[in-house]
């Protein structure tokens, strides 16, 4: 029998602490595959900061630095500036990247830091129990707005990919969903691109936004959660590559 698909070597033996049906497992795998395929295990430094994914260092057997909530991109800036030859990425959720860390996000992108951002958008504050996130959809029920998000009260969800793509200092911006195998394959391609451009010395900022399912906070089964992503998130957050610049633009 031929082995055609196996666990990436840099995924550790540590049992996952994520809930059943959570998309983090898929993202971990796609990141691990990309790092292995590019052969950069020994020169990659990950940054985690807050939320469920703050422990992602447990599951990916590479160097990790854990910074403060929202400051992932500032910590990553310090690391990349100190070690420009190494590959630096942050792994952040929507509360981290777009609420408490929005200042760091915009400015790291505007400085054109050579950092790859893996952004998990599940439309909730997941770890704290399903509070409203900057990406929570209109009408979506959360523990802090139990009747559903109303634009007149708390505004509309932030589309960060669309916000960052026009900046002259961003180089790769893409959004994928993790709701079915076809979209997961696209997500893999985007994630690998976002790492590969950094490896090849492209200048600028690289980010992949991933639409994720959070069954525990949606209070739905894993399958119904994926359906929810497809029916609710994808229409508001269009998929695709928003920006791909070739070498030499910065």
């Amino acid at each position: 029998m031929t082995l055609i698909y196996k666990r990436p070597e840099i995924i550790t033996d540590e049992p996952f602490t994520y809930c059943p049906g959570c998309s983090h497992g898929i993202i971990h795998r796609l990141v691990a595959e990309s790092i292995e395929e590019l052969g950069i295990q020994e020169k990659t430094i990950g940054v985690s900061s807050i939320g469920c994914s703050v422990r992602c260092w447990k599951f990916l057997n590479i160097d990790f630095v854990q910074g403060a909530h929202g400051r992932g991109l500032a910590v990553a800036t310090g690391i990349k500036r100190a070690q420009p030859d190494n590959i630096v990425f942050t792994y952040q959720g929507d509360g981290d990247l777009l609420a408490i860390g929005m200042g760091e996000t915009i400015h790291a992108a505007a400085r054109g830091e050579n950092i790859t951002v893996i952004f998990a958008n599940n439309a909730f504050f997941g770890a704290t129990g399903g509070q409203l996130a900057p990406t929570t959809l209109i009408g979506q029920k959360t523990s802090t707005y139990p009747l559903g998000r109303e634009a007149s009260i708390i505004g509309k969800p932030i589309k960060i990919s669309e916000m960052l793509a026009p900046l002259e200092t961003t180089t790769y911006i893409a959004r994928a969903a993790l709701n079915n195998p076809s979209n997961i394959k696209k997500a893999k391609k985007y994630i690998k691109n976002a790492f590969q451009m950094q490896v090849e010395g492209e200048k600028g900022f690289f980010m992949v936004e991933l639409l994720c399912a959070c069954p525990s906070n949606l209070k739905k089964s894993p399958v119904d959660s994926l359906k929810w992503v497809e029916e609710n998130m994808i229409p508001y957050y269009p998929l695709g590559e928003f920006k791909t610049i070739n070498k030499g633009n910065l």
Partner: protein
Amino acid sequence: MTGKILMKGNEAIGEAAIRAGCRYYFGYPITPQNELLEYMAINLPKCNGVFVQSESELAGISMVYGAAASGKRAMTSSSSPGISLMQEGISYMASAELPAVIVNITRGGPGLGRITPAQSDYFQATKGGGHGDYHILVFAPASVQEMADLTSLAFELADKYRMPAMILGDGIIGQMMEPVALKEPINLQDLSPKPWAAIGAKDGKRHLVLSAPFTDEKLVALNEKLSKKYKEIAEKEIRFEDYMTEDADIVIAAFGIVSRFSKEAIENLRMEGYKVGLIRPITLYPFPSKIIREKAKKVKAFLTVEMNEGQMIEDIKLAVNGKATVDFLGGGGGKITLPSDIENKIKQMLSKGDY
């Protein structure tokens, strides 16, 4: 050691930091420390260093965190309101056991306050400052020469004990010019290796720089480890100046710039026959409690002189432990206590004769 040159306090810190091997500076403008930020902006690129003006103090201290996690000597500087924002990152660095130097050229507070000189951040600096049970090394220079010397020492001890260190200055020494003899620049290759730094899992063994241990037992263990470290530095790293206390009836306790006003007052008082001396803490954390405790057995009273409403006096009282009277002179918000004020206060204390 070369000859002396005339430098502003803030610039002396910058030059001393570069000579101590600091090649990474991240910071945000705020008066009265802008000369330091600008000195690093101009001079770090000349020695292949990195200067980044951050979008906030929150980001600046986290950039320092990243460079420190990379095993580099890194620093930032700010003034009181900015240092309040940095407490987040300083607490994380204390937890992750990351060395770095933070400079606070204090201004009068609370709130926005004013750029007038003050020592009102003593509590914040010495009692941890941010959340959680931790301390950082705190140095209080009283001259431009000490701005340079203590910056160098701060980098050395921060690395040695893997903890953040702070230079706590004020607007007067930050801004004034004095002759300073600078140390020869160190060779970056001579710095001790940092095997814990996250530089890629090149030897097949990965590095983790974490500020959270993620289990209850490990967090208790981290707190115990930090506590042990603080006990060790209290044994080995206390620095203070003992000035004419041998026969003193009253010992003044003052740090930073007011210690110099106190010395002038002591000289004048001694000429009039009053026996007065000074204990000047150079490390505010660890605090020189032992010498204060010893002096408490011999003196009639202590007078703490501070440019705040009375903060270090609490540590003096803890050390004195009821064995002598402890009086206070000073004030916050930019009030400057002059030598003549100190002289009058001492005379008043001694004339009461109730010691």
